[in-house]
Symmetry: C2
């Protein structure tokens, strides 16, 4: 391709409204342009990268036996009412009405549509397992879209949905997708990590996120330094620092005025934080519950939701806490709570001895409490936020922190949608059974931005080979005046095209410096410069995008040399 | 591909709500399923065909030098207000509001978005000409969607937009697209015709439609039998039958009670219809005008709009006609109309002599009127509806009628959008000039349905080779029991795949009759049947989809034989 036929829209200045590097570089390199908040046009250069990612995803989905189809972007509200998500999904769901005032949405995901298709078309266990996928423009009406295509409102997504006769088959299909995802991100040339994660509004119990690792990533990942354990902080687990056991001492109530906070309580009682068990009142689907965690730990609300089997858990207000327990915040404790109030204790807090806790009276705390001796141990659960530096689970050493950008998520949905939408098949014995479902998403457009966050320098983007818009850029110094240079450049370009390597010949009437800068900005992995003098010696100048020096290579055979590099 | 890995969703019964054959066959063959009115899921089989069409379109657009990009589906209302189409477009435009109550639409077309991009990115004549295209899901909120994907609400479209420094360059770019479109429809293996057409709500003056020819087509096409003239009836032109000249006779007013219709007038005055010039009152953009056409002709409203330079022309009501002329309908004529009222006379009516017309008095008509002698000839225009059997223009013989399905439309837009949206570039002299634009659409999903309307029989679809979902279907008789047959079928399948030919191996546990019927229904061009006996003789049974008989071919070398056929 020649620049004269493939217009570049590079910018010298960094647009002011772009906060993160991938957004800045995508604008500067002319990959995207903003149409409106969260809506971007993919210019020719950007689309080329997007298509490369898309193609790798498609090939690996096909290889894994998934079958491509294409569902409508616009979906009828009735289906979302069947699954109870029309109200539940929140304002991210772009709702709209057609000319007949019928309600629809611009789909952010397609569980309802595919389940409707499956219940109509799949009748027998003989048709299972099957995995349908599509690569499609989706819409999520973000309240504050930002970071360019990283968190856009319109985005390209690969979504796949598998149907199974039972949980065992679902587990197999899920594993096949897990493997396919690993192949996809490997083939894309990205450094990535899969982690345990929360299933969120999609539902189901087992799920795994795929993250492209980048310092600028929004998500914190904790991974074991001696094993393969890795999880999003929102779900990462650790036993935490050991709480030293104490020889049992006598429990007593202490007057503790003005000690609403754990810090004040610790100071007043002269206790380390891990000898305090704090009581956190939460509202779980608007029902109050009390959670006990160690004074030096933080509550993880997502774990709390799992422990309480709730859709949504939030901290209670002071008023709500008072209403639920009869006690002002800061003085709530395990002894003497109202009957019927849900309570849970974190695994680590359950190991505390001679601990202090609220006495369920204003300005009073217990000290030297011991579980079971002074109060029955409530049901235990993993409630604490795990932190880097803490022990990894299963003796896999220590948790290390890294940052990632979520680009894929796979879920075992079980029968959540097939139950609510009555998607059944006949099993071998002729009985109607709900299908087990999995769903598997990849943020195709987001991968492009994530790849840049991971691979860039001062000069611009550094594309991993497999998703580079062009493999090679050819620059002829003074090629508008020097016939020999022009001819060499043109024939090199054609030879690369002939060898199936996409080469960009910069045939603009511009200074070499401009061409060098643009080639670096748009991140083409290999650069060949043809100058009059070196050409006379049968040489061209080569520079890899990550190299700091030029190298002279023989003009003859350069195509083979480069093709060799591309195979690396 | 094996059917066990590529599920077919064929139906025995024709769904009751499918009115046309392509819709019926797309449902029966399992290409599509209806999600809601005008919204269809493309099942794997249908998507394969859609992608083939898409790929041919993409390759030819690239070959013609157009550059692919991707614009958002959701577009801000402000841009449509700039071009004055937000109100003008009508209820087909799916308008919606985001969570912040900002107005958007789901784009049915992208002139505004691309013009906005162009005015931001294109600054100089040096960047022109350039042609951007995309292949994208679009939405048109049809009042009554029907005929499956033929007139769906969500559909796949290729839309291209070219930008030029002047009209001459636009004409060149338009011609390049005209040529590309011809190549596209040729490569798709379809019988098609390009015709002159009206530009409708898109705008511009020059446009050409591409039609796939099919008896079931919604549009009538008139084409010359001795030349290349062809036009949509809405725009076709013909001088019409010759009106015999008469020796001038004396004009006089005649009492003609109860002769509001042309037929009554002709009968009362004993005149042939072509000696009557009728006066048709129309409302052109809500302003009245009087059009004179021959008594045996029909007014073409689209031509009337062109003649009056109006966006929209409709017949006036009796009241409106009375208000505009002061005369009741049926007695309006050219002599004595109010000053300032727009009038036009059709070319053919302008050749009438000794004609009768309304006298602009109730119950009175003139006879023996002659233009210029009795009343000045108004501005002439082509206003009559042309009909099959009439002379073609430019002496190209006679107009013949055929029916077509519109699948493409190319337009010279001129400066319609660049004027209203202020999209200018600097010309060679450094002056700001509006860019000239062309736009070029292809209904990618509609082509699939149109191809079926053109190519089917009692048994099902007959795909043109280039867009068939699979080239060859392989059926092994009793292959679940006979190892030799299975092996032959499997190795044939693999050999075809190796040769780059997409073969479908029907490995279902089903009777041969079911497999034959499905293969014909889904329209695979070539069928190979492997039976135990013929295989023992080194033979396979071959049948082309349009053949009425089987032929025995040698099993050895069958792949080469078929590849030879595919090259035809």
């Amino acid at each position: 391709m020649r620049v004269s036929q493939f217009p570049l829209f590079t910018l010298k200045e960094t647009p002011a409204d772009a906060e993160i590097i991938s957004h800045q570089l995508m604008l500067r390199s002319g990959m995207i342009r903003r149409l409106a908040s969260g809506l971007y046009t993919w210019l020719p250069l950007g689309l080329k990268v997007l298509r490369r990612v898309e193609q790798v995803v498609r090939e690996e989905m096909n290889r894994a036996g998934a079958v491509e189809l294409m569902m409508p972007a616009v979906q009828p509200a009735e289906l979302w009412r069947e699954s109870d998500r029309w109200e539940a999904y929140g304002p991210e769901l772009l709702r709209l009405k057609d000319r007949h005032e019928r309600e629809f949405c611009f789909g952010p995901t397609h569980e309802e549509v595919i389940t409707d298709m499956a219940r109509n078309e799949l009748r027998s266990y003989r048709q299972l397992p099957v995995n349908f996928y599509q690569i499609q423009t989706k819409f999520r009406d973000e309240i504050r879209p930002r970071f360019g295509v990283m968190r856009a409102r319109e985005f390209l997504m690969k979504d796949a949905y598998s149907f199974h006769i039972d949980q065992a088959s679902l587990a197999e299909g899920y594993q096949a997708m897990f493997d396919a995802y690993n192949r996809i991100f490997e083939r894309l040339g990205l450094s990535f990590r899969s982690v345990d994660a929360d299933s969120g509004s999609i539902g189901g119990s087992v799920s795994r996120e795929f993250h492209v690792l980048a310092d600028s990533g929004e998500d914190e990942i904790l991974s074991a330094d001696q094993g393969d354990y890795a999880a999003n902080t929102e779900l990462a687990t650790s036993p935490g620092p050991v709480i030293e056991p104490q020889a049992p001492a006598e429990a007593s109530k202490q007057a503790t005025p003005d000690t609403e906070t754990v810090a004040a309580q610790a100071k007043h009682l002269n206790l380390p934080l891990d000898r305090i068990v704090k009581s956190v009142v939460v509202m779980a689907d608007e029902e109050p519950a009390v959670l006990f965690i160690s004074g030096d730990d933080e509550l993880n609300l997502i774990k709390a939701a799992r422990a309480l089997d709730a859709e949504d858990v939030r901290l209670a207000t002071g008023e709500e806490a008072l209403k639920a327990t009869g006690v002002p915040k800061g003085f709530i404790g395990p002894i003497g709570l109202p009957e019927g109030l849900a309570v849970r204790v974190d695994h680590r807090a359950a190991t505390a001895s001679n601990f202090s806790s609220g006495a369920n009276e204003k300005d009073m705390h217990w000290i030297n409490l011991n579980w079971d001796r002074d109060v029955a141990l409530p049901a235990t659960a993993d409630l604490r936020l795990a932190r880097a530096g803490e022990p990894a689970p299963e003796g896999q050493g220590t948790l290390r922190s890294s940052r990632g950008i979520e680009v894929g998520h796979i879920f075992q949905l079980g029968t959540k949608y097939s139950d609510s939408m009555n998607a059944t098949v006949l099993d071998e014995s002729g009985k109607d059974v709900p299908m087990h479902m999995g769903c598997y998403g990849i943020g195709v457009s987001r991968i492009v931005a994530a790849a840049i966050e991971q691979n860039h320098d001062e000069q611009g983007i550094i594309w991993p080979q497999p998703i580079a818009p062009f493999q090679v850029v050819i620059i002829g110094i003074g090629m508008d005046r020097d016939e020999a240079v022009r001819e060499a450049a043109e024939s090199l370009h054609d030879a690369f095209q002939g060898a199936g390597v996409e080469a960009l010949l910069d045939d603009r009437d511009a200074r070499p410096g401009v061409k060098f800068a643009d080639a670096e900005l748009i991140g083409i992995p290999h650069r060949l410069v043809i100058g009059k003098k070196s050409l006379a010696n049968g040489k061209v100048e080569y520079r890899g995008r990550r190299d700091s020096e030029n190298r002279e290579l023989d003009y003859a055979g350069i195509v083979d040399t480069l093709v060799g590099k591309l195979g690396d």
